[in-house]
Amino acid sequence: MTPAWTIPSAFAGALLVLLLPARMAMASRVVALVAAIVGALAAGVSCLARLRDPDAGIWSFNVPWVPEPGIRFHLAADGLALTLLFLTGITAIAGVLFSWNVEKRPRAFFAWFLTIIGGAYGVFLSRDAFLLFVFYEIVILPKYLLIAIWGSTNKEYGAMKLTMYSIGASALILLGIATAYAAAGGTSFDLMHLASANYSDGLQAWAFPVLFLGFAVLAGVWPLHTWAPTGHVAAPTAASMLLAGVVMKLGAYGALVVAMPLFEQGFEQWKPVIAGLAVTGILYGALTALTQKDLKFVIGYSSVSHMGFILLGLAVANHWGLRGAVMQMISHGIIAGLLFGIAGRVVYERTHTRDLMALKDFDLWKTLPGAALGFTLATAASMGLPGFSGFVAEISVIIGLWQKWPWLTALVALGIIVTGAFSLRALHRAFFPERSPSDAPPAKLPPLTWPEISAIVLLLAVSIAIGLYPKPWIALIDEALRSPLFQSFLTQP
């Protein structure tokens, strides 16, 4: 299996689900699950093949698409793309499993869900700026519809806000890419071609922030992060998982492979600003999460905080920083998916509340011990405890930061402490409440179903596997970072 299977599996799955007769809800779930598994398997097998034989050429697919403006259908799977494809595949499987009980128009639900997955695969594989932008934009409408139709709390507002932020950011990306295309001679959108062109300093000074900001909005950069918490909370569980787990990574990935290589001098100028915004985001997200009453809002703001580490790693732009940023993309993708899955699906569907005070009455560690165990482990991973993927990622970013701006690490350390505080607070209030014996006994809750258990186990297993044995992932990422695309801005300490 090659990476070629990923994009078609998702889109074909979406189409197939739509073609099923309306009453076959079960069949639509199975088709969606199979499509997700095929994509994840293709990504996993390709990762293994790449590790086994790192000297072989990378898989690529390159045909002309629209010759006149110079657009090529150019896909390539280096280690960076492969790890993110794997993340997308795992999130897709878990998302389908956590959506097993969707009864309202399941065919449309899974079709839109798989469309987002296909778009994400496409972004990670694209090596042509136009093609990347096409896949990037494909996810906008499905995101809106998933939230607006299947969402909860304030869903129309959350969906519209998220969509307008996304499309506004896309306008900036369009402007940035079109500017680079024009300045590079107006012949090709190929990323390598655009990255190797010489842009004047004046152009880079304004085009870099435009292009970078366009991607960074989707990555949840402070102060344009506000779409993320409201969107995540309003979204149905699978969409929250996708948004936090995969879609936010599309922004970070675009910043890494498009904005930074194209305008490396602009990047050099704006580095301190990005780092400042990233650290602000880490602290602001963590502090805000500390005061939330809704469990999903806690996770939403924690995503803003964790995405700050990715942006910080990108701003540091040395080997440790970039490696850490990519590791954090994978790690946060898995962990945020897990947290949203348990909070939004396992708990909310049974208790119909996410209010931290109201959850007290359910005494969840007794009535839903499996969920409590899963959430505890996920919280530990989210706090960056050793043994989980978050540790590997955040420690790499911090080492990189120490090499570049040692004094900033103090602020980041503060952010990590607050992260521990809000994580433990939410865990404590939601799952291990203090109850006096006089309280009414908690209501009986239905036990965990097998799709829920398998999704939780899958995500936890991946996070722990990366945490205990990060070597293959680091090998894949390091190999990809040697690509000429990144050499113009990658600083060696």
């Binding site: 006149e68 932008f133 934009e137 409408l141 519809l145 607006a148 295309y181 024009a182 107006g186």
Partner: protein, 495 residues
Amino acid sequence: MNYQILLLQLLPEAVLVFTALVLLGVSVGVESKRSRPVTPRLTIGIATAGIVLAFVALLREPAQAGSGTPLVAMDLLARVGKGLALALGLLAVWLPPARGESRNVGEFHALMLFALAGLLLAAGTNHLLFLFVSLELASLSLYLLVGFPRTAKAAEASMKYFLFGAVSAAFMWFGLSLLYGFSQSAMLPVIGAKLGADPGSLLAMAGLLMFLAGIGFKLAAAPFHYWAPDVYQGGPATSVALVSAASKLVGIVVLVRVLSLGFQAAAGSADWGNMTAGWSLWLAVLAAVSMIFGNLLALAQTSMRRLLAYSAVANTGYLLTAVVANGSKSSGAALFHVVVYGLATLGALAVTAAVERERGDDRITSFAGLIHRSPFQAVCLLVFLASLAGIPPLAGFFGKFAIFSSVLAESTREGNPGLVWLVGLGAVLSAASLYYYLTVIKQAFVFQSGQSDSGRLPASHALCIGVAALALVLLGLCPTMISASIARAVGSLMP
């Protein structure tokens, strides 16, 4: 003049006019013989046959240049423009008149063919007088088509359209007479040569300015757009489809032809920091005002047709942005986008007409629950609106992207900021436009409808919707299907 060659050169238009006469005859014949009016099915069939025949006539190799009349230009731009206008006109014909509007459908479709013939003639001439007459043939037919149902709303729309149109025609006419006074010729190449020798001529500039005001009216560019919302709302959907798609396409063809052949010397510049008077600057102002007005006013609409009217104004802004850059790639992008825009608006109007059949009005809330009532219409509506908003993989995305990137490529050189200001404005406003398209999508997909008693759509109505949606998907996946011939057509006029 050799009349045989003239006939061959104008064969497509002749076929259209002949078919229109046949339609009139058939409808009178049927009505007097069976004492009931002719059915839309029959007249749509005849009109379709006429348009297809005209298309076949167009595909023939052109007659030798120079042997016919100088009034008719047989260049590639004329042929491509005529072909695309016929295609968009055919889709409009397939959209049947609503129940109350179906009296005298024979006359209605005959008028559509007359309008189409006028548009075709306008797309293929380098002679300003002939251009004016052709545009008036099209416009007079369109005024009648908008007022055809004889309801108060339609009469008001038609009257507004006519009054604004008459004033703009007067402007255009006056401008043309000034241009004639300047160059003693109505032929574009002659005017171009004269203007090259005397680029600053006040007479020519005044004439051009008035001509552009007239074209601005046809294209619904702000501030000449005041007729658009009322016409879109009051006229029959079929007429509006013709106004919004084929007529706009021909407007762009005419604009590109006139400016590139006749007025290269008066282009001026709209580049940031280097603005000089000339049509580039004037059109850049029109483009900016249209994008701002159209997009902002569309946000406030509660009627789908008025929303589409303001979206038409906004899209004129994008199209003019491409014309401003004055290059062959950007002009090609403008032509591509106007086709794609026409398909999407025509389709959205057709779905609106279907909703009106069922719900009786075009309020956006009447679209509620369309996905449950008619999944076909709802999915096609999604395609149309997403294409208008520029979401890939639909053709509207490619059209807008092609405009913005080619304008930047042609206007920015050696650190010159060029038209970045206009493109930036367009990109941001185009992103904002997703908001109002989403309000309709939200009604159709998210909300539930009250009742569901959908009568079957006439076959040609469904065909119109389906073909337009399919075309947008195919053109999005494979834009070269038309963009290659458009590029060659524009390249034959501009270096």
